[in-house]
């Protein structure tokens, strides 16, 4: 770390050494065994930079693909193009403020990003959240889970070349987002979860929109899925592709729909129940195939379960306050807390350490996409270039969360 190695981003490097233009080989000595192996090209292999500006990398992910004709022989994901240092910022803000920073982490499902830190801080404070607030949390989070999965289905199709499903997905998402905007005030970065409850009670507009949508949600979503579910081209392209078996899924630490598609019913809502999930009835859909198609279909099943949860929550919603009494300046006793929730992409965790001051001493965000994305590295070799996108899309990574 003492010697200065030329940066990849240094424009001079690119101009002075044309080899970097041809081969995309970094201009410094390999730092690890794996890097040395990766950047040693055999005959007929070439490196292709896919990203960070590429139509289908879900943000600014850079994949260095080693290809042999159309066949991918290895790949190396390069992260960090969206790194904002949220953990450091959170450690330098007080507890209320740290939550705001987590909002844009995984911008598709912001409410989950808020919920995990909020729950960790509540653990630090030994705080009891009013039951109505818990129910509202579940309600809004499940809505957003549907929105996220609806969008996932569109993205998957878009990465496979289908133009239309993404827009149908966005229509569903927009309905939900408008609903949540009525509830929280914003469309994307809701900033709704608060330490000790939620920011505001349910209001009439939200409930009327919700009722309106609930009456046709399932029908609409099922209609939209006919576009892909049985489509021969889609099925042929995804079935048997990127198979993750049980053992591999556990070893890779996958969570969420990706691990459930491999037959492991690991869902934090059941594995370590939080909130009011123990009181609600729902299934954990699993599939045994572990391929991209199973991961896709599993999310379709999850949408149905979420609708079921929302239905129950609406029927059981208790009365009461939505915020516990929390001082403006929070100074928890020194201690450690780990809270994990089931976000649409898997287990979203927050590890917070308090040192008795009003700022978290350590503010660690565990993002599921970060772990899930690792699976592309063992899955891809041997597949075709076009499958990179199919596998990537089926793992559903969001770069905002991966790069923190």
């Amino acid at each position: 770390m003492t010697t200065q190695i030329p940066s990849l981003d240094d424009p001079r490097v690119l101009v002075q050494t044309p080899a970097t233009i041809y081969d995309a080989i970094p201009p410094y000595a390999p730092r690890t065994e794996r890097e040395a192996e990766f950047y040693t090209l055999r005959d007929g292999e070439m490196l292709v930079n896919m990203g960070p500006q590429h139509p289908s990398t879900h943000g600014v992910l850079r994949l260095v693909l080693k290809i042999e004709g159309e066949r991918v022989s290895d790949l190396d994901p390069v992260l960090g193009y969206l790194h904002r240092g949220i953990e450091k910022l959170g450690e330098n803000a007080d507890y209320h403020h740290a939550i705001c920073y987590t909002d844009p982490l995984e911008y598709i499902s912001s409410l989950f990003n808020e919920l995990a830190p909020v729950m960790a801080f509540e653990q630090l404070l030994d705080l009891r959240v009013p039951r109505r607030a818990e129910y509202i949390r579940v309600l809004s989070c499940e809505l957003l889970r549907i929105a996220s999965h609806a969008l996932f289905m569109g993205w998957m199709a878009l990465d496979l070349g289908g133009l239309t499903p993404i827009l149908y997905g966005f229509i569903e998402r927009d309905e939900i987002v408008e609903m949540l905007a009525a509830l929280t005030g914003q469309r994307m970065l809701f900033n709704y979860m608060r330490i000790g409850g939620v920011n505001g009670d349910l209001n009439h507009e939200f409930l009327s929109r919700l009722g309106d949508w609930m009456s046709r949600a399932l029908r609409e979503i099922e209609a939209n899925t006919t576009l892909l579910n049985e489509n021969e081209i889609f099925v042929k392209r995804t079935r048997g592709l990127g198979v993750i078996d049980r053992r591999m899924a556990l070893g890779l630490g996958l969570t969420g729909p990706n691990v459930r598609a491999s037959g492991i019913p690991y869902d934090v809502r059941r594995a370590h129940p939080y909130g009011v999930y123990p009181e609600l009835e729902f299934d954990i859909p699993t599939r045994d195939e572990g391929d991209s198609y199973a991961r896709y279909m599993l999310r379709v099943d999850e949408i149905k379960q979420s609708i079921r949860i929302i239905d129950q929550v609406l029927h059981r919603m208790p009365d009461g306050p939505v915020m516990a009494k929390v001082p403006r300046r929070i100074t928890p006793r020194p201690g450690r807390a780990w809270a994990a929730i089931e976000s649409p992409r898997g287990q979203y965790g927050c590890y917070a350490i308090s040192d008795g001051t009003d700022q978290p001493y350590r503010f660690r965000i565990h993002d599921p996409s970060f772990v899930n994305l690792q699976a592309v590295v063992p899955l891809m070799p041997g597949n075709l270039l076009a499958d990179t996108m199919a596998v990537m899309a089926s793992l559903d990574p969001v770069m905002g969360g991966i790069d923190k």
Binding site: P55, E70, G161, Y168, A386
Partner: protein
């Protein structure tokens, strides 16, 4: 204080244009009169006419080629607009709606935008090949247009090997794509170029083989002849006798035109824009012109081969022919042309005037004139449609072709993209055997029915 008088200064802006224009006009009239008076101009006209008449085949070809070349531009614009609008509608969007009525000028504006963009050549590109590639692609598709019959007697050239010419020239397009992919100095372009080479070369074979059945049935390779062989009702169309061939042809044509689900050469989610990655400005425009012209071309070919070209699906059940031939009326025609509007308008105006007593007669008469004009246009249109086969043929041909264009766009809106190995597998494992089976069955049928 002296005032400088500038004559043009006192003229209105229109006047400033009109005064010099009048001068030029007067000069022209004088020259013309002098030319006619001295007999020079008639002599020149007669001479040119003689030359043209002597080389009528060449003149016909030049006129047809120009017409076809000019025809590609609005075709591409219309198809681009269709693509924008139809896909938008299928996505539950509105699509272009700002430029022109219902956004119809959106594609024209796209064209202008493409024209005004920087023409960029990447460092390290093979400049001459890079420059030629879009031209090759465009020229190949326009050349293929020459043999397509738009209506009875309306075609660039009626080659007796029209079909062979079509596939030969249409296959040239791939050379342009390959050139573009190679010369761009970009790995995505290279991948796109290689994909297009593999794809188009593979799909040429089922495409051509599927058509052989049609050729055997029609007994000719001239596209015009094939259309004539299908005249009659829609039961005579070759799609009825060659459904398998049509299926193979349609799939192969989709691949040949690089349309979804076979648009691997420009698969945006995999290889950015394929061969066109490094292209910008008008060169990019050429590629896209070529693509959309190709779409129309293959739709037109499908119609010609399998859907009876410009023939009507159902023949006119009773032979209506208006026996009035305008040419035979002589001076009577002039009288009719002058008198008919006056009489007709007056007749139409009278009831209006009677009903609306508050109107002055001239207002009713003007309304009558408008109504008469509309009626006259309608009547002349019907007359032309019935009496001129070419016009009716064109209408049928375009109607059928655009149904196919719509289908292409519809497929693009619906289907995801196929993978390269599946693409090749489909071509070699399914389409090629299917077309061979079709060929065999057709030959067998011909042997059995007409030994």
């Amino acid at each position: 204080m002296s005032v400088v008088v500038r004559p043009s200064g006192r003229l209105s802006p229109t006047g400033r244009v009109m005064v010099p224009a009048l001068g030029v006009l007067v000069l022209l009239v004088v020259v013309l009169l002098a030319g006619i008076g001295t007999g020079i101009i008639p002599a020149i006209v007669i001479w040119i006419g003689g030359v043209l008449l002597a080389n009528i085949a060449i003149v016909r070809f030049v006129v047809a080629a120009t017409a076809v070349l000019l025809f590609t531009i609005p075709t591409a614009f219309v198809i681009i607009f269709m693509e924008l609008k139809v896909i938008a509608f299928m996505n539950l969007r509105i699509g272009p709606n700002r430029v022109g009525p219902w956004g119809t000028l959106a594609s024209v504006v796209h064209g202008l935008k493409v024209l005004s963009k920087e023409d960029f050549t990447p460092t390290g590109a093979d400049v001459s090949v890079f420059t030629l590639a879009p031209v090759v692609t465009f020229v190949a598709s326009v050349m293929a247009f020459m043999v397509l019959p738009f209506g009875p007697g309306l075609f660039g050239a009626d080659l007796n090997v029209g079909m062979l010419y079509f596939f030969a020239v249409g296959g040239l397009g791939v050379v342009g794509l390959l050139m573009a992919g190679w010369s761009s100095f970009n790995k995505y372009s290279l991948l796109g170029g290689l994909r297009s080479a593999a794809q188009m070369v593979s799909y040429e074979i089922p495409l051509t083989l599927s058509v052989v059945g049609v050729i055997m049935l029609a007994g000719t390779m001239s596209l015009n002849g094939i259309v004539q062989a299908q005249s009659g009702s829609f039961l005579d169309w070759f799609v009825v006798r060659q459904p398998l061939a049509f299926l193979v042809f349609f799939i192969a044509a989709t691949a040949e035109a690089n349309r979804t689900p076979f648009d691997l050469t420009e698969a945006d989610s995999e290889i950015v824009a394929g061969f066109a990655t490094e292209y910008s400005g008008m060169r990019f425009g050429f590629f896209f012109f070529a693509e959309y012209v190709n779409v129309f071309l293959l739709s037109g070919l499908a119609v010609v081969l399998f859907f009876g070209g410009w023939t009507a699906p159902v023949p006119w059940p009773w032979p209506v022919h208006i026996l009035v031939a305008p040419g035979e009326l002589g001076l009577g025609l002039l009288a009719i042309v002058i008198l008919a509007p006056l009489v007709g308008s007056t007749l139409l105006a009278l009831p209006l005037w009677m009903l609306r007593s508050s109107w002055p007669f001239w207002r009713a008469w003007i309304l009558g004139l408008v109504l008469f004009t509309l009626l006259a246009i309608g009547a002349i249109g019907i007359y032309l449609l019935i009496n001129l086969d070419a016009l009716l043929g064109i209408v049928w041909f375009f109607a059928k072709s655009y149904v196919f264009v719509f289908t292409f766009v519809w497929m693009r809106a619906t289907l995801p993209r196929i993978r390269i190995d599946q693409l090749m597998g489909l071509a070699w494992k399914w389409l090629l055997p299917a077309s061979l089976v079709n060929l065999f069955l057709t030959a067998l049928a011909i042997l059995v029915v007409h030994p």
